[in-house]
């Protein structure tokens, strides 16, 4: 199934959706608006023909302080139709917030916690948004481009000068 058909199907499912096709991305996919993400995801999953039943992964990307935005990339897969699809949303870097897709795919639970852990993105509606891989009392969000390590963690030096 072509990307245009999926897009047309989505646009038919609800009025007022804004969907743009993305360039230079594999698998092909759409840029969607943050407030429409949940609607589009639900339409993609519950459509009898498309049936994107598996969420493979959620990857967050920080575009840096100059750009002022962060991206969330959702990798979907439809087992029955054997098609992959990428969804991308852009969130504000100062106060990154997005709706959680946990009600649609349970797989999102830990991936969203990971994105919160490393980027500080808040997922509205997530039941259990805690750090997942880093300790709870770690400071800052390490995968942000302007991250600076804390000096000490429980009295242990975190970074040494490279000249030492």
């Amino acid at each position: 199934m072509h990307l245009e058909e999926i897009k047309a199907k989505l646009l038919r499912s609800k009025e007022g959706l804004q969907i743009e096709e993305l360039e230079d991305i594999q698998p092909r996919g759409f840029q969607v608006k943050p407030d429409q993400l949940l609607t589009i995801c639900r339409a993609l999953k519950e459509d009898d023909v498309l049936f994107f039943d598996m969420l493979s992964s959620i990857s967050a990307v920080d575009l840096g302080a100059d750009n002022g935005h962060m991206e969330l990339v959702y990798h979907l897969y439809s087992i029955t139709k054997e098609i992959s699809l990428t969804l991308k949303v852009t969130v504000n870097r100062e106060d990154p917030q997005i709706d959680s897709v946990c009600p649609i795919w349970k797989a999102a639970d830990w991936h969203e916690r990971e994105a919160y852990d490393f980027f500080g993105i808040k997922f509205n509606g997530h039941q259990d948004l805690r750090r997942i891989l880093l300790p709870n009392d770690w400071e800052g969000f390490p995968l942000r481009k302007d991250y600076i390590e804390q000096e000490k963690y429980h009295g242990i030096t975190v970074t040494y000068d490279r000249e030492d």
């Binding site: 230079d24 698998p27 992964s57 259990d128 300790p135 429980h154």
Partner: protein, 404 residues
């Protein structure tokens, strides 16, 4: 003497990884138990917060991160070829498979996947399938240990040693190989490898039957694993579970067949799926049985690869495994999600590159164990504590990949 760098505080442990449930929240008769991170049956450094009512588990909360080594942060500061050793260390039980997934992804980004010599691809598949057997052996052997069967563990470790020695012969390392390079291989197979590997394949076939007789069909093993930890298919898909766990729940999905990557379309093999033979579909026994059958299928693939490697694409003095290795690995600006079938499931890499440097802007690894573990709380409500151990073992976790 350098001073000891740690300031002791009794609150450190609770601050760094607080419990989700507090003693005060428990109902009458309930008990809060901590399992791990240093516990043999958690297969590494998994920590579980378990609430039990007598012998019955009511809730499980996994706590992760005890083996976090900042893979994604490291990957943002070094060129693509230098990331391969880090990829090895994610799933250290199946490094060849992870390398295969990673190098294929980068090659596709560079657009050189068609230039890879066929002998290189066959060698890659050969070593990856050898590693798959080794990984499944550890899964089955340690699972036996969890259940209380000691002999099968010694048997599979003995046979796995042959595989590790074969792989050590190719590149010098026993577990963390760095053998597959972007665009080629570190070296051609050593002289005599094909013969030694053929002999090993002949040796292993009856051993697989022995293992199946001793462990998988064993009455005690069946009673401990059948109808335990039943994972329904819709739940498995919703949680993003892949690999032998998904196939154990009855879905015939294998990325080697679905995506038809590398030379897999030219090879003949089946995808075993769980059938609920001993109890319910998707129970612990089904998952282990699928792994066992996958070892046989891998052996089939190995035989076919060896056949091609000694006939169609045989050893040649002029063959250079590094011929297609690019001098500069600089993909154009793009985003790419590459995936491949690891012994544990779908290993995915998401790359974002800017086209101006050899260093990726972002690499995200989607480890199969990570998603497979996330289903644990959903299938372990109401089981006995001893069954919880059986369920954890059947997930085949590698914490190196969960925590990355």
């Amino acid at each position: 003497m350098p001073e000891i760098q740690y300031s002791y505080d009794p609150q450190h442990l609770t601050n760094s990884e607080p419990l989700v449930h507090q003693q005060g929240d428990l109902k009458e008769g309930e008990m809060l138990i901590n399992i791990g991170p240093q516990h043999p049956s958690t297969h590494g450094v998994l920590r579980l917060e378990v609430i039990t009512d007598g012998e019955v588990v009511t809730k499980v909360v996994p706590h992760l991160g005890y083996l976090h080594r900042c893979f994604e942060k490291h990957a943002e500061s070094m060129p693509f070829n230098q990331i391969i050793p880090f990829v090895d260390r994610m799933d250290y039980m199946a490094s060849m498979n992870s390398e295969h997934a990673y190098v294929m992804g980068v090659e596709k980004m560079l657009g050189i996947e068609k230039d890879i010599p066929r002998r290189v691809e066959y060698i890659r598949v050969l070593v990856a399938e050898l590693n798959r057997i080794a990984s499944h052996f550890v899964a089955i052997g340690t699972y036996g240990l969890d259940i209380g069967a000691f002999t099968p563990f010694l048997w599979v470790m003995r046979d796995r040693e042959h595989i590790l020695r074969l792989l050590e012969w190719t590149c010098g390392a026993r577990m963390l190989y760095n053998y597959l390079w972007i665009g080629g291989l570190f070296y051609d197979l050593p002289v005599g490898f094909e013969e030694r590997c053929t002999a090993f394949s002949k040796y292993l076939k009856p051993k697989l039957d022995d293992l199946e007789n001793l462990l998988i069909d064993n009455k005690i093993f069946v009673e401990r694993t059948a109808e335990v930890g039943v994972l329904p298919l819709d739940l498995a898909i919703n949680y993003g579970v892949t690999g032998p766990m998904l196939r154990g729940s009855g879905l015939r999905m294998d990325l080697r067949k679905v995506d038809e990557y590398s030379v897999y379309p030219e090879l003949d093999f089946d995808i075993p799926i769980g059938e609920g033979k001993m109890g319910k579909l998707g129970d612990c026994w089904d998952r282990t049985w699928v792994r066992m059958q996958e070892c046989r299928e891998s052996l089939k693939i190995i035989d076919q690869c060896l056949d091609r490697l000694t006939k169609d694409v045989k050893r040649d003095r002029s063959f250079d495994p590094r011929a297609a290795v690019p001098k500069k690995i600089r993909p154009k600006a793009q985003e790419f999600y590459a995936r491949a079938e690891n012994p544990k499931g779908e290993l995915g890499f998401y790359f974002k590159t800017d086209g101006r440097s050899d260093i990726p802007l972002r690499v995200k690894a989607r480890g199969p164990s990570f998603s497979n573990l996330s289903v644990l709380p959903a299938i372990s409500g109401g089981v006995l504590v001893s069954d919880l151990i059986a369920i954890i073992g059947s997930l085949d976790l590698v914490l190196g990949e969960v925590d990355r």
